[in-house]
């Protein structure tokens, strides 16, 4: 019988600790598939963040080092500059990349660092118990916006990917979602393109993935998948935000 589905070589044989319906395990797996397909297992250095995915290094069978909250892009920059042969990716949540790490992220992108950011947007701080994130939607209830996010008090959901697209050093930015087989396939394609951008030495690449957090959203996994389509994608439309990988001479 033909084997059509198997564990990626760069994914360790360990049971994920994530909650049922969480997007992390899906995204971990497809990153590993891309690492295998591009034959990068021996070159990759991954930077997981503090947060639910701090234990990513228990799953990825590649070199990994922990980063302080928000500092992933700076750590990745240091690695890549010191050892350019490495293929470096950060794995960051919305609080990490779009709040505490805003400066590191924007400046790494602006310098055109040859690194890849995998940006998980689930609109909450997950591991700390579901507090408001910079990406939390208007009127969304979290443990620190118990009456719903109010623009007068908490401001607007931040569109960090669109902001990053304004930097000339960012060459590929796409927003996808991990909430359906079709979207997961598109996410994998985007991750592959982001890694390829780095391999081709073109500049900074980022894939923003709208990812379900049923536990903190107080939803079932199916409701969470549906909420991404019905609510989240209205604020954060899916698709390519910037792709100048084919026209590096433009500037």
């Amino acid at each position: 019988m033909e084997k059509i589905y198997t564990r990626p070589k760069s994914l360790k044989k360990a049971a994920f600790h994530y909650c049922p319906g969480c997007g992390h395990s899906i995204v971990h797996r497809i990153i590993c598939e891309v690492i295998d397909e591009l034959n990068l297992q021996e070159r990759v250095i991954g930077i997981p963040p503090p947060g639910c995915s701090v234990f990513a290094y228990h799953y990825f069978d590649v070199d990994m080092a922990e980063s302080a909250h928000g500092r992933g892009a700076a750590v990745a920059t240091g690695i890549k500059r010191a050892y350019p042969e490495a293929i470096v990716f950060t794995y960051q949540g919305d609080g990490d990349l779009a709040a505490i790490g805003t400066a590191e992220t924007i400046h790494a992108a602006n310098r055109g660092e040859r690194i890849t950011a995998i940006f998980i947007n689930n609109a909450v701080y997950g591991m700390t118990g579901g507090q408001m994130a910079p990406t939390t939607l208007l009127e969304q209830k979290t443990t620190t916006t118990p009456y719903g996010r109010d623009i007068k008090l908490e401001g607007y959901p931040i569109k960090i990917s669109e902001m990053l697209a304004l930097t000339k050093g960012a060459v590929y930015i796409e927003r996808t979602a991990a909430n359906s087989p079709a979207n997961i396939r598109k996410t994998k394609k985007a991750i592959r393109k982001a890694f390829q951008t780095q391999i081709d030495d073109l500049g900074f690449s980022l894939v923003e993935i709208l990812s379900p957090c049923p536990t903190n959203w107080r939803m079932t996994p199916i409701e969470a998948w549906q909420w991404i389509d019905k609510v989240m994608t209205k604020e954060y439309p899916l698709g390519i935000i910037k792709d100048i990988t084919g026209k590096q001479d433009a500037d």
């Binding site: 250095i45 990994m64 500092r71 700076a74 010191a82 050892y83 293929i87």
Partner: protein, 355 residues
């Protein structure tokens, strides 16, 4: 090689390059800018080397962390307020046993303080500085020549003990010019540390981290760090003494303050006062044993610092009641003169009935 005239900050840069520093990440702050500028000129275009003017001190220290992960010799520098920002990263470096050299050309504080030379970061440097239970080696040079020599030594110590090493200078040392001789040539290639992250090629994948959900595991990490700190205390504690043989009063001073004190002691000696000096070179580990040895014959100590007396408690701890400690200090970036310190020495000498 012949001596050249250089600022302290530039001398650190040249010494770092000659120590094989491959990556420097900085951020402008007075009074250490000449070092960042030196690295921009002399390191940024070197083969296999990298220089970044980072977006913040926090980013710079995290770039150092990244570069150190790969096994590169790496350095950052700043001055007091910027060093406060780097403490998060220094804690991670210490936790993950990553070597790095961090230069603090300290200035007056607290807060934004002043840009004038001060020694107000002694506590921060010698007590760990960031969160968690850790130490860093702290070297206190007192001349441009020592800035160069200690920079080389700092890289060696960092690699030997897998620890961040702080060079605690001050704005005056950084900006003054003195003749300096560089005793080392830049190495062609350095051996790659066995723990370096360079991709899982021909070996299993590696993880560098401290986070654990099991407190007992972290407890063991703490113990293992402290076993190494004990080793450092035994092997690397250094200090310098000046005219202590027959001294009845010993001035304890470090860095630039020790230079000022030396001038004062020479005057006091010419006036017939038996005064000597103990100058800790490693502020951590502190030369407690030397203090105890001196305490067998000398009972009066004057701690002189350009701060409010942060080293006093280390001297008192070392003495364990076996000597009396007085203090004279000028905080805020005020630079005391040798004659001013000589007056303090003389007054104390007579007050304590040593003459």
């Amino acid at each position: 090689m012949a001596k050249v005239l250089m600022t302290g900050n530039a001398a650190i840069g040249e010494a770092a390059i000659r120590a094989g520093c491959q990556c420097y990440f900085g951020y402008p702050i007075t009074p250490q800018n000449e070092l960042t500028e030196y690295m921009a000129t002399h390191l940024s275009r070197r083969k296999g080397c990298s220089f970044i003017q980072a977006e913040s001190e926090i980013a710079a220290i995290n770039m150092v962390y990244g570069a150190s992960l790969t096994g590169a010799r790496t350095m950052t520098s700043s001055s007091s307020p910027g060093i406060s920002l780097k403490q998060e990263g220094i804690s991670y470096l210490a936790a993950c046993e990553l070597p790095a050299v961090i230069v603090n050309m300290s200035r007056g504080g607290p807060g934004l303080g002043s840009i004038s030379a001060a020694q107000s970061d002694y506590f921060q440097a010698t007590r760990g500085g960031g969160h968690g239970d850790y130490r860093t080696i702290v070297l206190a040079p007192s001349s441009v020549q020592e800035l160069a020599d200690f920079t080389h030594h700092a890289f060696e110590l960092a690699d030997k003990y897998l620890i961040p090493v702080i060079i605690l200078g001050d704005g005056m040392l950084g900006q003054m010019m003195e003749p300096v001789e560089f005793k080392y040539e830049a190495p062609e290639e350095l051996p790659i540390r066995s723990r370096a992250l360079r991709g899982a090629k021909g070996r299993p994948s590696k993880i560098i981290k401290t986070f654990t959900s099991k407190p007992a595991e972290l407890e063991e990490i703490n113990w293992s760090l402290f076993r190494r700190y004990q080793q450092i205390k035994k092997q690397e504690t250094t200090c310098d003494t000046f005219m202590t043989e027959d001294a009845r009063l010993i001035v304890v001073a470090f860095g630039i303050a020790a230079r000022i004190a030396k001038g004062a002691i020479k005057t006091a000696r010419s006036n017939g006062l038996k005064v000597g000096m103990l100058r800790p070179i490693t502020l951590w580990p502190f030369p407690s044993e030397k203090v105890q040895e001196l305490a067998k014959s000398v009972k009066q100590y004057l701690v002189f610092e350009m701060n409010m007396g942060q080293m006093v408690e280390d001297v008192q701890l070392a003495l364990g009641g076996n000597g009396e400690v007085s203090f004279y200090g000028r905080p805020g970036g005020v630079i005391p003169t040798p004659s001013e310190v000589n007056k303090v020495i003389s007054r104390l000498y007579y007050q304590k009935g040593l003459k």
